[in-house]
Structures are given as C-alpha cells and as structure tokens.
C-alpha cells in the first residue's frame, strides 16, 4: 500500500469517526453514558392519585435498570414535570422537557384528554412519546409514528372487553350499556358495538352526561328493555348512581363496572347503596390478577423497597401504581432493541416491534405497524362489597383500527 493510499484510508477513517460522533452528538438527549427521558404526570391537584405512584413505579423500573448497568452503557436520566392532569399545564410541561431539558423521548401522561392536547406538538417536533397510564385513544387512533400508549387499556378495548365478558361469561344476548356522551363514551361504544355484533348480541345503549345527577330516565328505559347484563362504562359518580338506581328499580341481573369507575372500591360501595346493591356486581380489572395477589406481589414488594417512607403512608401505593411498570418496561426494551447507536428513528422502530408479557397487565404489551395501543384485555372480578373472586380467564376486545 503506497503512502497516498494510507493517507486516504486514515482520512476516510477519521471522517467516518467524526461523522459517527457528529450523529451521536446531534441526537438530542443522548450522550455516550446517558439517555435523558422526560417524564410527566399529575403530581399535585385533585387528580394526583392518577399519576403520582404510576410515575413512581416507572421511575423505580428505570432505577432498577440503572443499577443493573443501564442500557448499552447508558444510564437513564429522568427529568420530571407536574402536568396537574390539565391540558394547558401538560402542554407546557412537554414543551419545557423538549425545548429546555432537551430530552430524547417522553414517558408521561396519566389523563387522556390532557395528553391528547400535546399530540400535535409531539408529532410536529418528532419526539417519541410513550404514555404512562392514560388510555389516550384520541392520540392513538389513527396511529402516527411518534405516540404509543394505552398500557392500562384503551377506551376502545375497555368497551369491547366488557361486552365480550357479558356475552361470553353470561351468554347474554340482550346487553344494556351505559356510557358517557363525550369522546370517552364514543370510543368505548365504538368497540362495544363491534364486539356485540361479533357475538350476535343486542346492545341497548344509554349515553349520559358525566354531570348527570338523576339517572332515573336512562335506567327506566334500560329496565324496560329487560336486559340480561348491565354494563356500566361511566366514571365513578354516575356508576354509583346507576348501581343504586338498578337496585331501586328491582334489577337483579349481573352488573359489569368498567375500570374507569373502580379507583376507590370502598367509596363506590358506600355511594352505590351498600353491600345489598353489590350482590351481583363484577368489576373490570386490567392487571394480570387480583390486586395484591401472589402473582403481582413482586410489584408491591419492589415499590416498598424503592419508596419505604412513602409505602408506610396510608393509601399507598395508590391503586393505579402498577400501571407505570409496563410503560417503563416498553421504554427500556425499545432502548435495548434500538442498539448502541441510539437515534429516535431506531427507538421508534423498536417500539413498533414490541411484543412481550409484562407480568403486570391482563394481556400482552403488543404494538404493530398499525397498532399504537398496547393492551387490549381485562380480567373480571366478582365483588360483593367486601371480598373479591376472580372469574377465570381474560377477555379481550377484537376491535382494531382500520
């Protein structure tokens, strides 16, 4: 090899290295030993129960990965903002994380309406967003390249799963279905209709305002239709009113209550008319097993170990705490799969190919070229106001975005 060839090879090598370094240096939020993830959730205000411990769970997963050496030699650095479950605050938090903290990707959002408000900004700036526990259907359907979510369950899947349970477990052909007359309600009804049609069941729908104070009219209409199962897809307050009114009207059939209303079961029983009204009530749960069961014990043990002081407080961990884990698992798995030369494009491609059992949720965490909603299944628990008894199996929605 002549001197000229050696020089050319050296120059080429130096240029290639420089090019590689430049590419690395240009990737926002990534250094050879760190990757910066922007996290946000409601950490204060009336909706803090939806996000505080969910974010804590995600962070404890990142801490675990960091203790084990990180991913491709990089430690995960979490930058946290409070979104107060409010669209304005959430968008401001996202902008701050992207523009000031220069994060590589976002991992946050516990409130659907608020997180959907940030979707335009995220897509425009091409920042990967992996939601925490928000269902966020409005940002997931139609799918885009940057937003992944519904780790607990999407509203579509919640509606489809509840109808699947009513049709399969009770063999019901006349199903009464109460949802809200807002975007949430439209989403879950969409999949519920699909599932009912697939199962050959009739769906008698009453869409009510979330602020309704008197549910007599919709319940009398449903009672007149003589349903075999009553499915309630509303928030906690209307759900309690409906359970109470069902008892007053002499309805004794099974009642299926969606996960939207089950944050505080003790309060739901008190509000819904006491144990008498809960003789035939089934609640939807998106975890793999009963909360606190042996199968999920590791999640609660991990929390107690990570946050000993917090865990000793009453009401901790909050009900939705485990939902933060599959979201964080998805982030770390995608970082792993993206390889050492980390770019947002590689991370997004890796997210799209995820398919794993989190050990936490009722169904697998599965994305695809046209699917951005991670989790489609739920389990059902017979709840009499005091004890819980799991119905065997899990029930998944068949609805897919087309």
């Amino acid at each position: 090899m002549g001197m000229r060839s050696v020089r050319a090879a050296l120059l080429g090598g130096v240029l290639a290295m420089a090019g590689g370094l430049t590419a690395l240096a240009q990737e926002v939020g990534v250094t050879p030993d760190r990757v910066r993830i922007g996290m946000f959730a409601p950490l204060s205000g009336p909706s803090a129960a939806y996000g505080q411990d969910v974010l804590n769970a995600a962070r404890m997963w990142f801490d675990k990965i960091n203790r084990e050496g990180g991913i491709h030699g990089r430690q995960i650095e979490a930058v946290v903002e409070d979104d107060r479950c409010n669209a304005n605050d959430l968008v401001a938090a996202v902008k701050k994380l992207v523009e000031q903290s220069n994060v590589f990707a976002l991992n946050g959002g516990s409130c659907s309406a608020a997180v959907v408000a940030a979707s335009d900004y995220v897509v425009r700036n091409r920042v990967p967003l992996v939601m925490l526990n928000a269902s966020g259907d409005g940002a997931l359907f139609p799918p885009n390249d940057y937003i992944y979510g519904a780790f607990s369950i999407s509203q579509h899947a919640a509606g489809g799963s509840a109808v699947e349970f009513a049709a399969r477990h009770f063999n019901a052909r006349r199903i009464a279905y109460v949802n809200h007359d807002d975007a949430y309600g439209a989403w879950n009804l969409n999949a519920a209709k699909f599932q009912a049609e697939r199962r050959g069941a009739g769906l008698n729908v009453q869409s009510i305002s979330p602020n309704i104070t008197d549910v007599t009219a919709p319940m009398v209409r449903l009672r007149a239709a003589n349903p075999e199962v009553l499915v309630i897809m509303t928030y906690a307050r209307p759900a309690a009113l409906i359970i109470r009114k069902a008892m007053e009207l002499g309805y004794r059939g099974p009642i299926v209550v969606a996960v939207n209303a089950t944050a505080d079961l003790r309060q739901m029983v008190a509000n819904g008319g006491g144990p008498e009204a809960f003789r035939n009530v089934y609640i939807q749960e998106v975890l793999a097993d009963l909360p606190g069961s042996a199968r999920l014990q590791w999640v609660y043990d991990m929390y107690r170990q990570a946050y000993p002081q917090l865990a000793s407080q009453e009401g901790r961990p909050q009900v939705y705490m485990p939902y933060g884990l599959p979201s964080a698992m998805s982030v770390t798995r995608a970082l792993e799969a993206a390889g050492p030369e980390l770019t947002r494009e590689k991370f997004l491609a890796a997210l799209q190919g995820l398919d794993f059992d989190s050990g936490v949720m009722a169904g697998p965490i599965r994305f695809g070229p046209r699917n951005r909603a991670a989790q489609q299944a739920a389990i059902y628990i017979k709840y009499d106001g005091a004890t819980m008894e799991r119905v065997p199996g899990s029930f998944a929605s068949d609805w897919r975005f087309e």
Binding site: S47, N211, T213, T216, A217, V220, A224, R237, A240, E248
Partner: protein
C-alpha cells in the same frame, strides 16, 4: 313503543320529575327572593347549596355528630354565612360603586371561594354519599317506582314552599321584604329597616338553599361541583318569571318533569339541553316568564 311502555314512561317521568322539580323549585325560590329584593342574580347560589351539604358532611365525618345536631348546625352555618356575605361584602361593594355588575361579580367571586374552601377540607373531589334520614326502600305509585326518600323530599319541599308563602304574605317581615322589592326608598320612608331586611332575605335564601341541599344530597352524591344544579334552578326561575315566587316553584316542577320526560321519550343525552330549550321557548314566547308580571318601564 307499545302503550304499556308509553304509560310506564309517562307515569315515571311525571313522578320522578316532581321529585327533582321540587328541589329545583326550592333553589329557584332562593334565587328569586334575592333578585326581587336586591336585583342581584346570585351566581353563588349553587355553591351555597353545596357548602351547606359539605358543612353537614364535615360534622359527620370529622366529629361524628348525630344528625339531630348536624342538620340544625348546617342550616345555621349557611344562614349566618349568607348574612355575613351580604353585610360584609355586598353592602361595601354597593357603597363603593353601586353598579349591579359589581354585585354580580362579587357573587361569582363567592362561588369560586366556596368551591376552593371545600376542596381544602380534606373531603376532596371523591364523590361522597350523604346519609339519608329516610330509607330508600322502593314505593310503587301506579306503575312509577319511587323511594320513601323521594316522597320525603317532595313532602318537605312542599312544606318549605308553604312556609315561605305564609311568611311573605302574612307576616310583618314578609311585608317588609315585599315593600323592599317594590320600592326600597319608599320602604325606608315608611320605617322599614332596609339593612336588616336585606340581611334577613339573604339569610332566608341561605336557609332554603341549605334545606334543598340536605334533601337532595343523599340522592345525587356529593362533589364540590354539585352546585351546578343551580343552573337548573336559574332555568326554573326564568321559565316561571324571575320576579315571581310562585313562578319559581312552577318553573322548578316544569323543568324537573320536562327533563325526565325528554330522557324517557327522546334520549338520555337530550336531558342536559332540555332546560335550555325551555328557557329559549319562554324567552321567545313570554319573556317575563310564565307567572312574571308585565315588563316594567323604569325612570332613569
């Protein structure tokens, strides 16, 4: 729809409408009595209603007091609060710059303040049930299904309406309030204590609101947003006539029954628009309300 279902819906709609309408009527009465004497639409009426229920719940949850103590305490607290607001805030606002709009803004300020205060009590935003003094066992009237609590609500509400009617028509305080509503200057000239009468009206309005809150709280579940029921009371007052106490009562029952019939015969999602349709119809066809007096011209 077959005739059996039609009659069931009709009976249930009217029966349930009378129950909810009686609460709207009470709250509308509270709004109209203030408007008639102060010419201020009290936009904090819903929050006063909410605070009365939360005051009672607070005493039950944190102090474990029995209902025979809780109910009078909550009523007294609300009456005192309303009188204090009238004397401490409204009177000063009126003295500083007596524009009606300033008085209205003061009531809006009160509504925000009350909601904020309730959120600080530790009872938070979780929907809570208020213990009922009467059982919720079902009672069948014709084909309609009500509860004993529903019957107690209607009975108590009608008794309160009758008491307010007697107070306004057959007592000295009632005559003073009517005189104040007709012409404050002339009322003062004939020796009516205007300040005391204003305070009395605001206190009475608080009492009626508190009674309606304690009646309906076991039925609707409590949140700091429960005061939005007052929107329906405003609708009732507009439909009945904003300067007519009997009109407020009539409007309350019309709104209650219309809501239920629309929910049964049209759609549950149409319930929320019913009061506004009723307001539109009345404003177009009879702007002064069904029992409102003729529109008056006032010398300025």
């Amino acid at each position: 729809m077959d005739s059996e279902v039609l009659f069931l819906f009709l009976q249930q709609g009217i029966a349930s409408g009378i129950v909810s309408g009686s609460v709207y009527a009470l709250l509308a009465l509270a709004i109209v009595m203030i408007f008639k004497t102060s010419e201020v639409p009290n936009f904090a009426q819903g929050e006063v209603f909410m605070v009365a229920a939360y005051a009672a719940l607070f005493l039950i949850v944190f102090y474990g007091l029995p209902m025979w103590v809780v109910i009078p305490a909550a009523l007294l607290f609300t009456v005192a609060g309303m009188m204090l607001f009238e004397a401490g805030i409204l009177r000063r606002v009126k003295k500083a710059l007596g524009e009606p709009v300033n008085l209205v803004i003061a009531t809006l300020g009160l509504s925000f303040l009350l909601r904020g205060l309730v959120r600080q009590t530790g009872l938070g935003d979780t929907p809570r049930s208020f213990p009922s003094l009467v059982s919720t066992d079902p009672v069948q009237i014709g084909q309609a299904m009500l509860t004993r609590l529903d019957l107690a609500i209607v009975g108590t509400a009608v008794a309160v309406m009758a008491a307010v009617f007697l107070l306004f028509n057959f007592t000295r305080a009632g005559r003073a309030m009517r005189a104040l509503g007709m012409n404050p200057k002339a009322a003062a000239l004939v020796g009516i204590d205007i300040r005391r009468t204003h305070a009395f009206v605001w206190g009475l309005s608080g009492l009626v609101s508190a009674i309606s809150a304690l009646l309906i709280a076991p039925k609707i579940l409590m949140t700091p947003e429960m005061g939005h029921v007052a929107i329906l009371a405003f609708a009732a007052a507009i439909v009945g006539g904003f300067n007519s106490l009997p009109g407020a009562v009539l409007g309350g029952f019309i709104i209650g029954i219309a809501e239920n019939l629309v929910g049964l015969f049209v759609s549950a999602s149409a319930i929320v628009v019913t009061p506004f349709l009723a307001i539109m119809a009345v404003l177009v066809l009879r702007p002064q309300g069904l029992l409102g007096g003729r529109p008056q011209m006032r010398k300025v």
